[in-house]
């Protein structure tokens, strides 16, 4: 190759390197901002005695809730999940479990444990004008009049939720996963922003944080709060840190700036009338939770409403995380595909001033950092390699810079352990904190490359238009008895 061309390539590589540098600094800056916002909020509210919660809980004015639990092959966890729901501290609520064509004994287990009987005539309450898969039967419980089971043909989680919306009585609904274990005060906490909304202010959805239950004792559907431990399995322990980062840093920070684009499908409260007006859950997408929230944001802007979507770090629901790479891969590729689909569906909002901060900040952030992040990262490595090849690389500087970014990333992740100390205080063993810090330091060497690979796969699958399903999560079971039955040992990771 002649010198001019080489020089040109070298210049281009150098320019790309500067672009990459700018991108990394912008991302780091944004994450730092999120961390600072979250720290400020949590540090301020720390140590306030939780007296006011009880007033919300016992208030005659607390709005009634419909709790929707879509379930697919949940025979191992569904009973504990429903038991934990029946024991929540909340005034008036109903539980609607929607069995989405499970291949296991989910329905039988529910009927057996809760003494359920078929209801031939069940009036549909809500006018969600969306076709759903046929319902085979509706069951009511003799023991718990506020518990309903709907058995329907398989149509996916979104379809199951739409059926639940149709049969729900109340103006607010909560979407939960079938393997969820809740803090008893979770609903009281998550409804607080809705109740406290000022005149003219409207909160149409709130989300809570998700914790990982693997390795911690769950007895009779209740997590023993004082015995939460960091799982021994490194893969799961790393997910704990990831979840803390996502919820305590990411979502609090984004919520403070009213940029929250996602409420986890595992635990979110929605105003039913808004969801109905938005058209319910979209069945043709895999990330139905994010897609609905983006659609709600869109509806808010299009109606020129001041409605908001909030996040509450206090209420925690606990869920089972994948313990093997194969299941984790399925989960993460699915999430990335869901992200792609949500952003693609609502691409009209991207950089569109009509949609305010959501269109101008949140959507570009999710596009450039979350969706294209893995592509840009690999591109960065290629740029470095090219830079070296064309001798435009300042090797000592690049090494030092890479080390700085690595350490700073670890610092940000470690910052979320600080946020956990300021708020949840679930992981209280010094041993657990030490392990979390070590995992935060080592993340870039093993976990991050794995996630990079999975997100790449998810991206390619999304671009190719891969069909989705529930994803078969290999259930170990969250309860103590389930774990003892499986391996004869205790439950510690």
């Amino acid at each position: 190759m002649d010198n001019i061309r080489l020089e040109w390539l070298g210049n281009v590589t150098e320019m790309l390197a500067y672009l990459m540098l700018g991108y990394v600094l912008a991302v780091i800056g944004f994450y730092t901002l999120l961390l600072l916002l979250a720290t400020r909020k949590l540090a301020k509210e720390r140590n306030v005695i939780p007296v006011q919660l009880e007033e919300v809980q016992h208030s005659a004015f607390t709005p009634p809730l419909s709790i929707l639990v879509p379930a697919y092959n949940e025979e191992v966890n569904i009973v504990d999940s429903v038991r934990s729901l029946l024991g929540i501290n909340y005034g008036l609520f109903e539980i609607i479990v929607v069995n989405d064509g499970s291949k296991d004994r989910t329905v039988d287990v529910m009927i057996e444990h809760f003494d359920m009987f078929p209801v031939r005539n069940k009036v549909q309450w809500s006018g969600l004008r969306k076709e759903t898969k046929p319902i085979n039967a509706v069951y009511s419980s003799r023991k718990h009049p506020n518990l309903l089971l709907v058995d329907k043909e398989n149509g996916g989680k979104a379809d199951a939720l739409n059926v639940g919306i149709n049969l729900s009585h109340y103006p607010y609904f909560v979407s939960l996963d079938g393997d969820t274990v809740l803090d008893p005060n979770a609903f009281v906490r998550v409804m607080k922003p809705i109740l406290e909304a000022k005149p003219g202010e409207e909160i149409i959805a709130t989300g809570g944080s998700i914790g990982i239950v693997n390795g911690s004792p769950v007895v009779g559907g209740y997590l023993k709060q004082d015995e939460v431990v960091l799982p021994r399995n490194p893969l799961v322990a790393m997910q704990v840190i990831e979840y803390l980062r996502a919820f305590l840093m990411g979502r609090i920070g984004l919520s403070e700036m009213n940029l929250l684009l996602i409420i986890s499908g595992a635990f979110g409260v929605f105003r039913k009338d808004w969801v109905i007006e938005a058209g319910g859950y979209e069945t043709g997408t895999i990330g139905e939770d994010m897609e609905l929230v983006v659609r709600l944001h869109r509806l808010i802007r299009e109606k020129k409403s001041g409605a908001q979507i909030a996040y509450v770090p206090d209420p925690v629901c606990w869920t089972e995380a994948p313990e093997t790479l194969s299941v984790l891969k399925r989960q993460r590729t699915r999430w990335h595909r869901g992200l792609f689909e949500s952003l693609w569906r609502h691409r009209v909002m991207m950089m569109n001033p009509k949609y305010g901060r959501i269109g101008m900040v949140a959507m570009p952030y999710f596009l450039l950092v979350e969706l294209f992040g893995p592509i840009i990262e690999v591109f960065g490595y290629v740029t470095v390699a090219l830079g070296y090849a064309f001798d435009v690389l300042n090797v000592p500087f690049v090494i030092a810079y890479a080390l700085l970014m690595l350490l700073y990333g670890s610092l940000l992740t470690s910052g979320t352990v600080l946020l956990e100390e300021l708020s949840l205080r679930k992981y209280n063993r010094v041993f657990d904190v030490t392990r979390m810090m070590l995992y935060a330091l080592s993340e870039s060497f093993w976990y991050r490359p794995i996630m990079l690979l999975y997100r790449w796969i998810g991206f390619i699958q999304a671009v190719r238009g891969k069909k989705h399903g529930w994803g078969d999560m290999a259930r170990r079971g969250i309860s103590v008895s389930a774990n003892r039955n499986q391996d004869g040992k205790g439950v510690n990771g």
Binding site: K44, E45, R46, N47, V48, I49, V51, Q52, E54, E55, S59, A60, F61, F117, V119, R120, N121, K122, V123, W125, S126, G127, R142, L195, E196, A197, K198, P199, E201, N394, P396, F397, A400, Y401, L403, L404, L407, Y408, S410, L411, S414, G415, V417, L418, E421, R425, Y427, N428, R429, V430, V433, T434, M437, L441
Partner: protein
């Protein structure tokens, strides 16, 4: 230049490493401290519960306990935790008085300081404790806090609510001036703790309140179950208001009362006759009203309401209809002859439900 930049980067690496180490040491110490404090408080709580229980119920002196609580942080936490728990369980006036004495003796000197502390959490906790233990000697400071615009809105509203718990009339003045800007949630939280004298005064000042305060006052009167002529008259007057929302709240209140005067009822019946012109929320409450305050004419309107476009109205109409005699006969008649399909569906569901109920009775 490049060398300077490299030097800067290395310095930053050192800074980050130091921060990481400092963060780890802080977290490890914080977690260890928290676990130790929790264990110590739990140990002391077990002991404190016995001795404080004895103190609360007898003339056993609390001075020694209070002295230890003032000196030792963990004892203070245990004492406050016990007192909070105990006062919420209720008890005789004498017991509550003892609890207050103990709180004053242990924590009293810090409350004034904490009310003006730099820490938001301390200020909030001070107000929460004042409200929980009804320490009315701090009313003046609370009133000042409510007016202090430098404080957060949440803080000022908590101060206002605490004044309401202490039965201070300043609350009514505040509601007159600024009640219109408050949310339903906060209005209720301020109105709910008001005692009967202040509630009566609120009723007398009803026409001076902004609409949102009026609505919430009616709701609070409903759940407080004040059953006197003054309250009933207020509900009846609101029933004939031109404000539909006021009528809705009045209907809820009267449905709870279970009684309404003949004149008010006759006047409202004229409105019910034209129920189709009502908003859905008024229809819903009218249906509820007709179930709680029976009258021969109501079943006819309730059956018509079964064909309303709104599910909740239909369901309430059905529930109210089921309060009248000959339930099964009515349901079968609706099933056979009602013009509205949804009404027939609802009747079928109710027949199944009541039919099942008889088997398991």
């Amino acid at each position: 230049m490049s060398y300077d930049l490299l030097a800067i980067v290395w310095r930053l690496i050192v800074v980050v490493l130091v921060l990481l180490a400092a963060l780890y040491l802080y977290l490890a110490a914080a977690k260890a401290r928290y676990r130790r404090a929790k264990r110590l408080v739990e140990e002391r709580l077990v002991f404190a519960e016995t001795s404080l229980q004895r103190s609360a119920q007898t003339d056993y002196p609390i001075d020694d306990l209070a002295a230890v609580a003032r000196k030792n942080r963990y004892w203070l936490e245990a004492t406050l935790e016990y007192c909070v728990r105990r006062i919420r369980l209720g008890g005789t006036n004498e017991e509550k008085k003892k609890i207050r004495q103990l709180v004053r003796a242990s924590y009293g000197d810090r409350i004034r300081k904490h009310l003006t502390s730099r820490s938001w959490a301390n200020r909030m906790n001070a107000m929460l404790y004042i409200g929980l233990f009804e320490l009315d000697e701090y009313a003046a400071e609370l009133a000042w806090a409510v007016d202090d615009r430098r404080r957060t809105e949440e803080e000022r509203l908590l101060g206002l609510r605490t004044l309401a718990v202490l039965q201070r009339r300043e609350v009514l003045t505040y509601l007159t001036e600024e009640g219109g800007a408050l949310s339903d949630y906060y209005l209720r939280h301020i109105l709910i703790p008001l005692g009967e004298p202040l509630l009566r005064e609120s009723i007398e000042r009803f026409s001076s309140w902004k609409p949102v305060v009026q609505y919430n006052l009616l709701d609070v009167l409903r759940i407080r179950h004040l059953r006197d002529t003054l309250t009933l008259k207020l509900f009846e007057d609101a029933l004939s208001s031109d404000d539909p929302e006021l009528r809705v709240r009045a209907l809820k209140g009267i449905a709870n009362f279970g009684y309404v005067g003949e004149d008010a009822e006759a006047s409202y019946m004229e409105r019910i006759a034209d129920w189709k012109a009502m908003t859905w929320s008024e229809k819903l409450m009218a249906a509820k009203f007709m179930g709680s305050v029976p009258h021969d004419r109501y079943p006819e309107w309730l059956e018509q309401m079964l064909g309303d476009t709104h599910y909740l109205v239909r369901h309430q109409a059905m529930s109210s209809l089921m309060e009248y005699p000959d339930r099964e006969k009515r349901l079968r008649c609706i099933l056979e002859s009602h013009v509205d399909r949804y009404a027939r569906d609802l009747a079928m569901e109710m027949i199944e439900r009541y039919g099942y109920g008889q088997h398991t009775a």
